[in-house]
Amino acid sequence: MDIIIKNGLIVDGSGLPAYSADLGIEDGKIVSIGKVGGDAKEIIDASNKVVSPGFIDPHTHFDAQLLWDGQARPALAHGVTTIVPGNCSLSLAPLKAEHRMKLVGMFNQIEEMPIKAFKEGVEWDWETFDEFLVRIKKGLAINVAPLVGHSVLRLWVMGDESMHRTANPQEIAAMQDLLKQCLAAGAVGLSTSFVDMDETLQPVPSRYADAAELDALASVLGEFNRVLQIVHEFYDIDLTIARIDQLAELSLKHKITTTFSPLFVNADDSELPKRVMARVDEQFARGARVWPQVQTRPVDISFCFEVPSLLFIRLPSWYQVMRFGSHDDIVSAFSDPERRAALAAEAQGMGDLWESLVLRQVNTDDNQALVGKTLKEIATLRGTSAVDVMIDLSLEEDLQAHFLSANMGHIDDDVIGPLLAHPRVHIGASDGGAHILSFATYGDTGYLFSHFVNECHALSLESAVKKITSDTALIWGMPDRGLLREGYVADVTVFDPNTIARGEEYYTQDVPGDGSRYVRDALGIDTVIVGGSVAYTGGGYTDAANGEIIPGAVGDP
């Protein structure tokens, strides 16, 4: 035996009650559950700990990070053993060389990933999806179920025309062929977007696809029994319901699983989750599979003026200068009395948002004492307005003053708890690996247990584990994963059910190109096993590299 996990509380992913047992692992598979005797190369004492299937994160953008970090840190440390990158119409393959910078621009705009990280952290040595998978498999420590992005399919087949018009029948046929190649190579499905804009603030290519094109691509997904993911107009009830109906028709016609993300809960739109779930229930009753993805964490957004923030997207003058201005342009705009006054006037459109912002980080000694205070408090101290404080601090800190807007939405536990427990809700939408300078997209699974299991009691321990393991594996068609069963792949997470949580959000410099990001460390995670090898222990990451592509190439065992 390679590993025996002794004396753990088995929460097997099925939702059935936990029980005490040992678990034996050999040759990457679970070989026995019960009283497991004999010797093993490694014995893990799981007394007072839960032994569960590895967690699966179905909505991530780790595409680029996997090129320099096969562990998708810190996702692996949080107990996540499988990730789904390539969401929202964007994947890094298939991609012709001449389109690389276009795609980098889209990733930068939509997912807020630094261009410098792509330039300095990525060796571009692939074009096809197959070549990309070969590339990321080197040193892969976490399982990857990659989606193909609709926008990149269009870019490959139509070039720049993909950003201007519908496809003709020949182009649609070419996209179908290309999608087949990607699925045969191991893609788990196709992603598309109905909302995103590129780096020039024009709609992404997938938004120029008509219904016939999406139907043709969905027919290919049906041939391969793979998944369609969309990001929809999540801010509007009627549009969301229209997309649910569109997905339901595709699901019924082509017998495919579909999923949309995110489904948010907001105080000023209390009817949205109720009406959306009523429609989801109706469509499931018809036999359609339309899974809404709900995230566990509240929406917090941090920003500094060095990089554009989505927080300002509804303020055209601010966003224009942040998105297209250089460092000097922004400093100049803030320093010029006339432009500053115009910006301040436009900021009034966001009401009292600015007063509740918290100063979370500065570089100068002079301002350290202000860290942790709200802009309202600092404004009172300085005898000015919150917006002026934000601008002044940014100038004083050479644009390196960081501000936090906490609990912007998705905070009503009385609604979110039951929603997460709903049998037709898919827990996901973490956005792992994206928006790295706005918030930490890691630790949503820990927060599920610490907050919604232990504090709110919205789900039982067994139900929460099921939601992020076997449910996810079944929805996405990941064979032999998501359950602790003899013969299943040994993706296993051992954790303390009383202390599992997400750590505090902090800012760290670990992105190629001297880049930074917000992250959260894992709390209460003891051991993470991927494909039968320990990939993470409480002491840190190992050099195991047993990650696989799921579902893998057609014909793979």
Partner: protein, 99 residues
């Protein structure tokens, strides 16, 4: 075997509740072409104006720039176009943000 199995077709019917009526554009659609097709009972100008007022998520969007095959037209082929007025509040705080 004496058991005579009769094949039965089970058609479960699950009626969908009524939702706000909408359509998906056809290639090259404009406000006028959608209005003529979907609201034939109305005068074209009146129908076009009504469509625009029911679809502010499209109408308020900048039209495609000069030189584009869709120059002057804000409608994207993937848009949902509503064919009747909203029945209640529909907007959340996230406005037009990206995901």
């Amino acid at each position: 075997m004496g058991l005579n199995l009769q094949r039965v077709n089970c058609h479960m019917t699950h009626a969908l509740s009524t939702q706000r009526k909408s359509t998906l554009p056809q290639p090259e659609d404009t406000w006028e072409s959608i209005a003529a097709r979907e609201l034939p009972e109305l005068d074209l100008t009146e129908a076009t104006s009504a469509l625009q007022s029911w679809n502010l998520h499209v109408f308020m969007r900048p039209a495609a720039p000069e030189g584009s095959p869709r120059a002057g037209n804000p409608i994207l082929p993937s848009d949902v176009i509503f064919l009747e007025a909203p029945t209640g509040p529909t907007r959340g705080i996230f406005g037009a943000t990206n995901e």
